[in-house]
């Protein structure tokens, strides 16, 4: 079996390669800048950053005869490419998967469904896959791939301008420790009371959907959840977060979860390793104090 792994994000590319490694031989397509190493591919196709989805997908379709399956990281670009290829070829697409096995020519995949409340395990003749972000820890593979250019086709989309978002800003996907606040924080001003903990643990600040979207207490790029970032830190500290499924789906892959909430029936206590029932504004300063000792 031979796979072509595609992404416009180096971390997603490595996660997708990690999923495929050992199950198929693979080449990789990277749409972006900078040197790529550690993906383990035999051939590496590089494409100029900002190349539209159709130009890349039509190029992939040209070399598709060499491959049995296409695996894309689930960025906006990755989904567009995967959808376009599925539409052109008629291949079934297994999407947002976090587990992949092959047996008897069929693909066995797992993905979340009903907004993350269930996991669907499926067997299909899928040949196009998108890999859910943040669910697989990317490994580094030794390889010196042969570098080639992908045949790029004309696009129907004109790119006028690319504006980097908050340069040097947050990348929650890469954070080792995340301190995340929910509605229980009460107000935008109260976030400053949490910052000493964020600094003490050298973490990144994040928030639930209401905090980032409905109330705007934190910026949208700090939202963890099904409709926000999917994170997989070593430590996730949930403060005043009730634990709606929307949120759990975004932080489920954290290694260790600590929750503090005054409502002992909050669902977050079913999804944490360590929890304290109590007032975050009383508890957080004490934790900071202890950490300094």
């Amino acid at each position: 079996m031979k796979a072509l792994v595609v992404s416009d994000d180096i971390n997603f590319l490595k996660q997708a390669c990690t999923l495929v490694n050992g199950k198929a031989e693979y080449d990789a397509v990277y749409v972006g800048e900078g040197r790529v190493s550690g993906v383990g591919a035999s051939t590496l196709y590089t494409v100029k950053k900002g190349t539209p989805y159709d130009a890349v997908a039509d190029g992939i379709l040209e070399i598709m005869g060499n491959y049995d399956i296409i695996v894309a990281g689930s960025t906006e670009f990755g989904r567009e490419v995967a959808g376009y290829i599925a539409g052109k070829t008629g291949y079934y697409a297994a999407t947002e998967i976090f587990s992949l096995e092959f047996s008897n020519g069929k693909a066995k995949t797992k993905r979340f469904f009903y907004g993350g409340k269930t996991v669907i395990e499926e067997e299909s003749d899928a040949k196009v896959f998108t890999v859910a972000p943040g669910v697989i820890e990317a490994k580094e593979f030794e390889s010196k791939p042969e570098e080639k250019d992908l045949p790029i086709k004309p696009s129907k989309v004109r790119v006028n301008k690319v504006v980097p978002k908050n340069a040097g800003g947050v990348r929650l996907e890469d954070a080792k420790i995340i301190v995340s606040v929910g509605r229980g924080i009460g107000s935008k001003e109260n976030i400053s009371k949490i910052e000493p903990l964020v600094n003490a643990v050298k973490g990144e600040l994040a928030g639930s959907r209401p905090v980032c979207m409905d109330y705007g207490w934190l910026s949208e790029d700090r939202q963890v959840g099904l409709s926000g970032k999917k994170v997989s830190p070593k430590l996730y500290i949930a403060l005043g977060i009730s634990g709606q499924i929307q949120h759990i789906a975004g932080m489920r892959n954290s290694k260790t979860v600590i929750a503090i909430n005054k409502d002992k029936n909050a669902p977050i206590f079913q999804e944490c390793d360590y929890g304290i029932v109590g007032d975050i504004f009383a508890i957080v300063p004490k934790i900071v104090e202890e950490l300094k000792k």
């Binding site: 900002g50 989805y53 006028n160 600590i258």
Partner: protein, 245 residues
């Protein structure tokens, strides 16, 4: 004048869905609702009409029970509605085929839809429709403007935003940040109930997927909960220090 098509998805109210002791989803008695991002898509479509003149046609691939969702779309300003029945489960390729089978007989400038839906999050439909219709996709828009025969959007990406454009007809998928869907006044809701809906059938094959299981994931967390704050703090500080190493 623009002819706008808006694709609307109806899903079960996931927040109300529970799983039983074996982890199986309990679906009976759970009401349907218009999926969140579809509301953003409807709002975006109606705003395009209000600004540029024209007409909005809603399309739902669903079942006979989807009329409630279409009436909600009417109340928000959608002018005409088509329900394609024959939906049997989440399979974006079947959905794309069902929708393109209707699209090919319609006149339109823009197709607006949500970038991902809140139940399965496949995010495949925009790319599928672009491939099947041959029209360009402007994906994940948080703003849409029409200039003559071209559509321009701001595309929200993971690391950057891009200003991109294409000639019409074009497919535009929208983010949840693009707008605040309107709450229609009661009079409009009542009028919407009387508007006719065109019904079409689609008979698609779903045979290439076999669902092995669909169960709530088991939480393997330790769930060590302290109700006495003074006992909890030292334990948690220990864990934090370990993870910081």
């Amino acid at each position: 004048m623009v002819n706008v098509i808006v694709l609307i998805k109806q899903i079960i109210d996931i927040d109300q869905m529970k799983t039983d002791s074996e982890g199986k989803p309990i679906l009976s008695g759970i009401p349907y609702r218009v999926e969140n991002l579809s509301k953003n898509a409807i709002e975006a479509a109606v705003q395009l009409k209000e600004k540029n003149g024209g007409k909005v046609t809603g399309i739902i691939f669903g079942t006979e029970a989807s009329t409630a969702a279409m009436k909600e779309a009417y109340a928000m300003g959608v002018d005409e509605g088509i329900i394609i029945t024959g939906y049997k489960g989440s399979n974006p390729i079947v959905t794309a085929k069902a929708i393109t089978s209707i699209l090919k007989n319609l006149q339109y400038d823009i197709v607006v839809l949500g970038d991902q839906s809140a139940d399965s999050y496949t995010g495949m439909l925009p790319g599928l429709l672009s491939a099947m219709t041959g029209f360009p996709l402007l994906g994940n828009a948080n703003s849409i403007t029409i200039n003559g025969r071209s559509v321009r959007i701001t595309q929200v990406g993971e690391a950057e935003n891009a200003e991109i454009e294409a000639d019409m007809p074009a497919i535009v998928s929208v983010t949840q940040e693009i707008n605040q869907p309107r709450l229609p006044p009661v009079l409009q809701i009542m009028a919407a109930g009387r508007k006719p809906i065109r019904m079409e059938k689609y008979d698609g094959s779903f045979s290439n997927v076999n669902v092995i299981s669909n169960l709530a994931p088991k939480s393997e967390r330790k769930k060590k909960i302290f109700e006495k704050v003074d006992e909890g703090i030292p334990e948690i500080v220990k864990v934090i220090k370990e993870e910081m190493r």
